[in-house]
Each structure stands twice: as C-alpha cells, then as structure tokens.
C-alpha cells in the first residue's frame, strides 16, 4: 500500500511539475481535453504509487515516464478528438498576432510522438541525453537519433551543445 502523502507533498509536486507534465501531455496528445485527463491521471498515479523516490530527479523522471506512457495509451485512440479541438486550443493559447509562436507550435505538434517528446525534454526541460535515455528507458544513441531526426524535421537552428551529456 502506498504511504499517505502529506498535503505539503501534494502541493509541492503539483506546483513543481504541473507545467512540465502538461506540456508533455499537450504536445503529445494534440488535444487539450486529453491533456487535461492525462494531467490528472499522472498525478493520481503519483498518489497511488508505492514508489520511494531516491531524489528529486528520480521523482521528476518518474512523472515524465508516466506522462509519456499515458500519452501513448491515448495515442492508440487516435483521432478520437477532431483537429478542431486543437485549433480551438491554439486560439486560446496564442493571440492572433502571435503567428510565429502558433507556427512553431504546429510544427512541433506535427512531429512523431517519439521525436516530439525527446525534443521537448532536451530543449525545453533542458535534460541531458543521458537523463532522457534513463527516463524513457531507451539508449543514449536512440535519444541522439531522435534528436537528429527531430531537428531535421523542424529544420531547427537549435544550439546542440554537442548533445551535452
């Protein structure tokens, strides 16, 4: 049975990771509705988990992994939500004049799920290749391969920093 978590812990984990979990969910599901569901489900699983976290990084990695796995489950119900829901959400996110941001958002959305997640974790969450590999349970070579493919697809001029380790 999982130990009851304190309300401070709940506050802390949600405040600390809500944006991260939500970004991963939104970028993977292409649906605000699904992202909301995944967001709740992720933190609910955190509550239900027996996991003892060795460190803050460990807890973060666990949350990312659960979020990604939940996104995959939702992904298997593809097309459940129409493109209209994404468009509505884009309009909610970006002002009409923010065409550049909207364009970037759409380009990232168009990436395959695996590339998207790695790109997001590397460039936005600023995780290292090794951390991403550990978190997603894939090899570092695989992470680099996905980063390269993601960059190529996005035609990014992102600073690679030598795929910092």
């Amino acid at each position: 049975m999982n130990p009851a978590r304190s309300s401070d812990d709940i506050e802390d984990v949600v405040n600390r990771y809500s944006d991260m979990v939500y970004r991963i969910a939104v970028s993977n599901t292409m649906s605000k509705h699904d992202a909301d569901d995944i967001f709740q489900e992720t933190f609910l699983r955190y509550m239900q988990s027996d996991k003892e976290y060795e460190s803050e990084e460990h807890r973060k990695a666990w949350l990312i992994r659960v979020t990604v796995n939940l996104c995959r489950s939702f992904h298997s119900q593809m097309n459940k939500h129409s493109a209209a829901s994404l468009e509505d959400y884009e309009n909610e996110l970006f002002a009409p004049e923010e065409t550049e941001e909207k364009g970037i958002f759409e380009r990232v959305h168009a990436l395959p799920e695996k590339l998207k997640t790695v790109i997001l974790l590397f460039y936005y969450e600023e995780m290292s290749v090794r951390e991403i590999a550990d978190t997603l349970g894939i090899s570092e070579a695989n992470v680099k391969m996905r980063l390269n493919r993601g960059r190529n697809k996005l035609k990014l001029e992102l600073e690679e920093e030598g795929d910092r380790k």
Binding site: Q40, F43, L44
Partner: protein, 245 residues
C-alpha cells in the same frame, strides 16, 4: 527556428488554475481515503473531479476492435501470391532463419534505411509518394519468432517473424488485394521500435487485425515502402489482441 523561439512557444502552455486546483483536490481526496483505509487502495472513482473513463479492459477492447491494426505489405501478399514464396531481402519463409538468430543483423540493417524506421517519417514520406492506400485484414497468428538486436545501427531493437493465417480481407479504396493464392498463410516481419514493444510479445492463437499498406499508386511494388509499412504499423498500433470472447 531558434531554441528561444521554441521555449517562448512552450512557455505559453500551462494547465489552467482550475485544472490544478481540481487535481490537488482529487489527490487530497485519494490521500484521505488511503489514510482512512490502510488495507485498501484508494477508491479514486469517488473523487468527483475525475473525468469518467472506461475501464482498462473496455479501453483495450475498444482499441482492439476499432484500430488495433498492423501495417504489413500488400506487396508481400502480391509477391506471395505470384510466386508462393516470401521474398524479404534474400530470406524466405521457407528458409531457415538460423543466420538471423545467431545475430547476423548486419544484413538486416542494410535492408532498412534509417529514415524509414520511423512511423511518422514513413507516413509523411508516404503521403508525398502517394503510398497511403491501406486495407485491413483479420488474421490468426500461427507462429512467430522474436529476434533481438543490440546493434544500434539497426534502427530497431529487433523484429518478429510471424506467420499469420488470413481470415478476412477488408475493403480498400482503389485496391484489389486478395488472399494469397493457394493458401491463407502469410509471413510478416514486424520490427520493434523499442524494448518495451519486445516485452509485448504476440500470442499464438490470438486473433489480430492488420492493416495492409500498398506501394506506390496502389501497386505494391516498392519494397522499401513495403518494409517500412510493416515496421510502422507495429510502432503505431502495437500488437493488440482482438478479443475472442
């Protein structure tokens, strides 16, 4: 696009305050139930803020019955029907796969270009090349062998060589794909995208639904597309069993 553009774009994505407060309330509710019933998992369904969702089994069933499909090459069937053999880079279903099982992945690695070892990239390429015609079949798994690879250059963690028995062939727009001539058994090769997939081994005797992908112009002659199609489908849809209940 620069890194700062990317960060700026994603800065705007955050959960609503309402969602955060509901989630915290849900967690607290689950937590208090845990404290009150130490021998029982929290009945989180009673948390009123939760969005009702189907049970996992129902979900699996829904996914299976609606979209749990794998792409295999219609060209394989075409070639199979034509020759009764199953050409796959020099291997055939009637030949021994000992060379593969002993780890000779180099030859396989050469069969698949890296760019097509990815579902979406294939899809996008396919759209450009007009290779998007698909059709579905239901089939029964007759046998399979799993081969794994530690070779990073392979682009996949391994593959499954399977023989399936075609039970039913669905309709496809503009295509006429028939059951293989002289029999109903077809060999397929499924490439695993990651280690997790390898753990989801197919089960002999289960029924599966596959999605067939054709080659260019509805004529399955492009071997590259055919191979990519097989690989891609696995990645996309997984090997979900069709309930036989």
């Amino acid at each position: 696009m620069k890194k700062s553009d990317l960060k700026r774009t994603f800065d705007s994505i955050s959960p609503s305050d309402d969602l955060i407060s509901k989630t915290k309330a849900m967690m607290l509710a689950a937590n208090s139930q845990t404290e009150g019933a130490p021998d029982k998992k929290p009945d989180v369904k009673t948390a009123t803020v939760l969005t009702p969702r189907p049970s996992r089994r129902k979900l699996l069933h829904t996914v299976s019955s609606c979209a749990a499909m794998l792409v295999i090459a219609a060209g394989m069937m075409f070639l199979y029907a034509r020759s009764g053999d199953f050409p796959m880079g020099g291997f055939s279903s009637t030949k021994s796969f000992d060379t593969a099982s002993t780890g000779n992945f180099a030859s396989y690695a050469r069969l698949i270009d890296q760019p097509v070892c990815d579902y979406e990239s294939f899809r996008s390429e396919a759209v450009g090349e007009g290779n998007t015609a698909t059709m579905s079949i239901t089939a029964t798994m007759l046998s399979y062998d799993i081969y794994t690879s530690a070779d990073e250059s392979f682009g996949a963690y391994g593959f499954c060589l399977a023989r399936i028995s075609v039970n039913e062939v669905g309709k496809a727009d503009g295509l006429s794909i028939r059951k293989p001539g002289g029999g109903t058994a077809v060999s397929i090769v499924i490439y695993f995208s990651d280690e997790r997939d390898i753990n989801s081994l197919p089960v002999i005797g289960e029924e599966y639904t596959f999605l067939l992908a054709s080659g260019k112009d509805g004529s399955p002659k492009d071997p590259l597309s055919i191979r990519a199609g097989m690989y891609n489908t696995w990645k996309c849809y997984g090997f979900s069993a069709q309930s036989t209940e």
